[in-house]
Amino acid sequence: MGERRDITLTVNGASVSRDVEVRWTLVDFLRHELELTGTHVGCEHGVCGACTVLIDGRSARSCLMLAVQADGHEVTTVEGLSPAEGLSPLQQAFVDNHGLQCGYCTPGILCTLTEFLETNPDPSEEEIRIALSGNLCRCTGYQGIVDAALAYARSNKGSAE
C-alpha cells in the first residue's frame, strides 16, 4: 500500500472528500473511486485525449494528473455536462450530425469542445479541427464531430442574435 492523503475537491458541482493513494491518477480516482465511468482511458500517456476533463473550466488530461493534484480544485466530467433529462444542445448536435460511433472518445471530445466553444463561440472549421487535434477518434474520421461543433456554434449565434 502506498502513502495516502485526504483530498477535498468539487466534482460536477458537489463537494467530495476522500482518502486516496498519492499515486492514483485522477482518471482512476474518478472512474473507480467515484464511479464516474463516463471518462475513459485510452492511452495513459496523454496523447489520445479520451480522459479529458475540465479542471476549473480548463480541459486537462486526467491520465496525466494525480488525484491529489486535484485537491481544492473543481473537476467537471461528461456526467457534469449532461442535463438530468435529455441532452445538452452540444450533445444533441452530436446526435444530429453523427458525431460519434463507438462513443469511447466522445466524453473527452465533449470536454475539449465545451472549453473551446466557450472561448471561441464563432469558430471556423479549421479552428475546430486544431482544437480537436488533441483528441483521437478512430471511428468517425472527425467530420461528424466538426459538423456538430459548427452546428452548435451556428445555433448559438442564431439564438444570441
Binding site: 466530467t77 456526467e79 463507438c102
Partner: protein
C-alpha cells in the same frame, strides 16, 4: 413510411453522449480482483525458470499464474487456429501462458492477480524470470535467407506456408504481351488501434460450474466455443457477453487472446471474479496487427493498355503465431484482380514466421495492400502508354452487363469468386465528376506556376462482404407489449442496434426507439459467428427481417382468434393489430402476447403457436461484392515531404442502404483509417525484433487536422443474394485510400519523376525519393 432507408438518429447515442456508456472497464462485479500480465521483454528466448516469491510476498497479491499453474488439459492446449488451410506447414498458435519458449516481445508469461491494478503491476515487476535469449527473425524477407535464425527453435525454417493462387494461362498472357512492366512494392499496415484497448471480466460460479465472460470482443460466440473446446466443458456452461458498448474493433478484437483464457482460468482457480484491462503499451505489444507485405509483380498488357495477366510473389509477415491461419495474405492475393477484367493471374504466397506479434485482419483485411498493388500497376500502364489513369481503368473495368462475373479465383470460403452486381465504370465516373477531375490539370498547372506541387490520384476496389455462414437474430413481442431483439452480432460503434431496430420496426409497425436490441450475448442467441468482414448488415439484417416477419405472422394469427376475424382482414401498426380500415377495432401487442403465452391449464386454440417470438438464421449462398472509387487531391511540400490532402471524393456502392447516415459514417471512418495507413502508421521493429513504436507519440494515427472532409456519392446496386439487397459497408472507405493517396503524391511530384512504391508514404520517404530522382536526373 419505411424506416429502412432512412437516416434515423441512432438509438445508441444518448447514453454514450452523457457518460452512461457501458464499456467493459465500467463493470464492477462484487468481490472482483484485478490482473496484470508479465510479458517477455525478448523477441525470442527460452524460459529457464520463474521465481514468483517476491511477487507473492507483496501484500494484496492473490496469485501469480504461470504455465505450470494452469489446469490440465487447458494448459497444453494451444489456442485454436481459427481458419485451417492445408497450405499451412506449421499450424502453431499461442499457449494460454508461454510454456518454455517465448517467440515475441510481449508474449504473456505470467498472470498476476491482486486486490487492485496498481498492486498487480507492482507485483508483475517482481516476477523474476530467467530467460536464455535466442537468435531472432525480424525482417520477413531476411528470415527467408538460408541459415537465417528461426522464429521457433524446433523448426527447420521460417516458412509458415508457400503456395500459389492462380487461374488462366499466365505464360501465354505474358508471351503475347505488347508490354510488360515490373514493380517491387512494400505495403505496410499497422494495427486497429481502437481507442478502447482490450479487456475482460471473468466470473465463475463454482456451484453450477458456470463461467461468465464479459469481453470487448467482436465475436462472443467464437470465444465461447473455443473456450468450451479448450476446457472440455459444455458450451451451455459458458456465457460470453460483449458489453453493449465496445470502443472500436477494426478486426483485432475479433480474435481470442492469451489474456482471455488467463482471466477465465484465474477466476476459476481463485473463486473470485477477475478483471484484466489492457493498457496502450500492451496494445502495441500484444494485440494483433497486419504489418509487412513485399510484392514483386509484373503486368502484361496489350498495345491499348488492356490487361493480359499479372504474376509475381507476395511475402507476408505472419509474426510468431497463426491464430487466424493465413487469412490476411490469402485475401490480399485474391483481391488483386479487383474491378478489372484480368484473364490470367499467378501469385505465389510465402507466409513467413518472424519473432513479432501475430498478424490477423485489420479493417480492409489485406485488401488495401492488394488494391495498392493493382492500382500502382494501372498508374504505371497509364504513364508508360501515355494514357490518362481514368482512361486505362475505363478500358479494363468489368462492365455491368458482365454481371454476375466469375473472376476465376476461389475465395477463402472455398466458393468461386463471383461478383454478383455493381457498375464499376459508373462508380468511377461519379467519383471523378464529384472531384472535378476534368479541370484538375488546369489547376495543377496554375499551382505549379505558383511553386506548389499538387497531384491527383485514383483508386477503385471490389470487396467481398457479407460472408456467411449466418448471424442469428431473435425477435420477440413480450407480454408487456414491448419488442425485444437479440442477436449474437456484437457491435463496436457501427450502430447495429439502430440498423436492426429499423428493419424490425418496418415489419412490426413500431418505432425504432421502441425496440430494445440486445447484441453480442451468447445467452441471447444460441449460435453465432462474429462481427468482421463487413458481414453483419448482410447476415443479421436479413435474419432480423425473417424473424420479424415470422413474429408478425404469429401476431396476426393470434389476433385473428381474439378478434374473430380473417387474418387477411388484419393490419399491424403502432403496436396494435386491428381490422383494416377500423383502427379502433383491434388488440394491443400486450393483449395478443398475453393470449399467445397462454394460461396455466388451458390449451391454445388450434393454429396459435406458443409465444410471439421467432429466431432466424439467414444463410447467404455466397459473398456479395461491394465496390467503389476514390479520387484524392493532395499537395506535397517538397522541402519537408509533408502531404496535405486538399480534397477527397468517394463513390461507394454497398447495395441498398438501411441507414444512409450510418453508411456515410462508415465510409468517413474508413477513409480516416486509410489516410493513416497511407501517410503515418508504421509499426516499427528493430533488427532484434524489438517493437520501436509503442505509444501514440511514436505510432501516429490521424488527427482531426490530418483527415480531410470527404465528399461522398452513393450508387445503390442491390444484391440479389439477400432479401434486403444489402452489402457490407465497413471497409470500403479504407481499401482504395492508400492507392489513391500514393498516386496523388506521385502525380504531384511528377515534374521530378518520383515513383511511389511504398506505403506509408512518409515525409522521409518522399524526401528520399526526391533525392533519388534528382540524382538520377543529374547522372542523366
Amino acid at each position: 413510411m419505411s424506416w429502412v432507408g432512412s437516416a434515423v438518429p441512432r438509438v445508441e447515442d444518448p447514453a454514450l453522449l452523457s457518460g452512461k456508456g457501458r464499456f467493459v472497464d465500467d463493470l464492477q462485479v462484487p468481490n472482483m480482483l484485478h490482473a496484470a500480465v508479465v510479458r517477455s521483454p525478448y523477441a525470442h528466448a527460452r524460459v529457464r525458470g520463474i521465481d514468483k516469491g517476491a511477487a507473492l510476498a507483496l501484500p494484496g497479491v492473490h496469485a501469480v499464474l504461470t504455465y505450470e499453474d494452469l489446469p490440465e488439459p487447458f494448459r497444453e492446449s494451444r489456442l485454436l487456429l481459427l481458419v485451417p488451410n492445408p497450405a499451412i506447414r506449421y499450424p502453431v498458435t499461442y499457449y494460454t501462458l508461454a510454456k518454455d519458449e517465448v517467440c515475441f516481445a510481449g508474449e504473456a508469461v505470467a498472470f498476476v492477480i491482486a486486490d487492485d491494478r496498481y498492486i498487480a503491476e507492482d507485483a508483475a515487476e517482481l516476477v523474476d524470470i530467467d530467460y536464455e535469449p535466442l537468435p531472432m527473425a525480424s525482417d520477413c524477407r531476411a528470415a527467408l535467407a538460408p541459415g537465417a535464425a528461426v522464429a521457433h527453435a524446433d523448426r527447420p525454417d521460417n516458412i509458415a506456408a508457400d503456395f500459389p493462387i492462380a487461374y488462366g494461362d499466365i505464360d501465354a498472357a505474358f508471351a503475347g504481351a505488347a508490354h510488360v512492366f515490373t514493380e517491387s512494392i512494400f505495403a505496410h499496415r499497422g494495427g486497429g488501434h481502437a481507442i478502447e484497448c482490450r479487456g475482460i471480466v471473468a466470473a465463475h460460479d463454482p456451484v453450477g460450474d458456470n463461467m461468465t465472460l464479459w469481453v470487448n470482443t467482436q465475436s462472443p460466440h467464437m470465444l465461447r466455443d473455443v473456450y468450451a473446446k479448450m476446457m472440455g466443458v459444455s458450451e451451455s456452461r459458458i456465457r460470453v457477453i460483449a458489453p453493449a458498448d465496445v470502443g472500436g474493433g477494426f478486426g483485432p478484437k475479433g480474435m481470442y487472446y492469451q489474456e482471455h483464457f488467463c482471466a477465465a482460468a484465474a477466476a476459476r482457480l481463485l473463486g473470485r471474479p477477475v478483471k484484466w484491462i489492457e493498457d496502450r503499451r500492451e496494445n502495441f505489444l500484444s494485440t494483433y496487427q497486419e504489418r509487412d507485405q513485399h510484392w514483386d509483380v509484373e503486368v502484361a498488357v496489350d498495345a491499348e493498355g488492356r490487361l493480359r495477366g499479372v504474376r509475381g510473389s507476395l511475402i507476408h509477415d505472419a509474426g510468431a503465431y497463426l491464430p487466424w491461419g493465413i487469412i490476411t495474405p490469402f485475401i490480399s492475393a485474391t483481391t488483386v484482380p479487383g474491378p478489372y477484367v484480368l484473364p490470367a493471374y499467378h501469385m505465389n504466397l510465402t507466409v513467413v514466421f518472424t519473432n513479432k506479434v501475430a498478424t490477423t485482419p485489420v479493417r480492409g483485411a489485406g485488401r488495401p495492400q492488394a488494391a495498392f498493388v493493382m492500382e500502382r500497376l494501372m498508374d504505371r500502364i497509364a504513364r508508360e502508354l501515355d494514357l490518362d489513369p481514368v482512361e486505362v481503368r475505363r478500358r479494363n473495368f468489368i462492365q455491368p452487363e458482365q454481371m454476375p462475373y466469375s473472376v476465376g479465383l476461389v475465395f477463402r470460403d472455398g466458393s468461386p469468386v463471383v461478383y454478383d452486381s455493381g457498375d464499376y465504370p459508373a462508380c468511377q465516373e461519379k467519383a471523378i465528376a464529384l472531384a472535378d477531375y476534368e479541370s484538375f490539370r488546369e489547376r495543377q498547372a496554375e499551382a505549379r506556376q505558383a511553386g506548389r506541387y499538387i497531384g491527383i490520384g485514383l483508386g477503385s476496389y471490389v470487396e467481398g462482404t457479407g460472408l456467411g455462414p449466418f448471424e442469428g437474430v431473435s425477435v420477440k413481442v413480450e407480454m408487456s407489449g414491448k419488442v425485444a431483439v437479440q442477436t449474437g452480432a456484437a457491435p463496436q460503434g457501427q450502430g447495429h442496434q439502430t440498423m436492426l431496430a429499423q428493419i424490425v420496426a418496418d415489419q412490426l409497425g413500431v418505432k425504432p426507439e421502441d425496440i430494445a436490441v440486445t447484441p453480442g450475448d451468447t445467452g441471447g442467441v444460441g449460435i453465432g459467428i462474429g462481427t468482421f468482414a463487413s458481414r453483419i448488415t448482410a447476415n443479421a439484417g436479413p435474419s432480423a427481417q425473417l424473424a420479424a416477419t415470422g413474429v408478425r405472422e404469429k401476431l396476426v394469427r393470434a389476433a385473428a382468434h381474439l378478434l374473430e376475424a380473417a387474418e387477411a382482414d388484419l393490419d399491424v401498426a403502432d403496436g396494435r393489430v386491428f381490422i383494416k380500415g377500423v383502427p379502433d377495432h383491434g388488440k394491443t401487442f400486450a393483449e395478443i402476447a398475453t393470449f399467445a403465452n397462454g394460461m396455466p391449464g388451458f390449451s391454445l386454440p388450434g393454429g396459435v403457436t406458443p409465444g410471439l417470438d421467432e429466431t432466424a438464421y439467414f444463410t447467404p449462398e455466397r459473398s456479395t461484392y461491394a465496390n467503389g472509387a476514390h479520387v484524392v487531391e493532395v499537395e506535397v511540400d517538397i522541402e519537408t515531404g509533408a502531404v496535405t490532402i486538399l480534397r477527397y471524393s468517394t463513390a461507394h456502392d454497398c447495395g441498398a442502404m438501411i441507414n444512409p447516415k450510418m453508411v456515410d459514417g462508415q465510409v468517413l471512418g474508413g477513409v480516416a483509417h486509410g489516410v493513416g495507413n497511407a501517410l503515418f502508421e508504421w509499426m516499427r521493429y528493430d533488427d532484434d525484433a524489438q517493437p520501436q513504436t509503442v505509444s501514440f507519440g511514436e505510432y501516429l494515427i490521424p488527427m482531426a487536422t490530418d483527415v480531410p472532409r470527404v465528399d461522398q456519392v452513393h450508387i445503390q446496386t442491390p444484391t440479389p443474394l439477400n432479401p434486403l439487397g444489402v452489402k457490407g459497408a465497413g471497409e470500403g472507405g479504407t481499401i482504395p485510400a492508400i492507392a489513391a493517396i500514393a498516386a496523388a503524391v506521385e502525380d504531384a511530384l511528377s515534374p521530378f519523376g518520383v515513383h511511389i512504391t511504398q506505403t506509408p508514404v512518409t515525409p522521409p520517404y518522399i524526401l528520399e525519393r526526391l533525392d533519388a530522382a534528382k540524382r538520377t536526373e543529374s547522372l542523366g
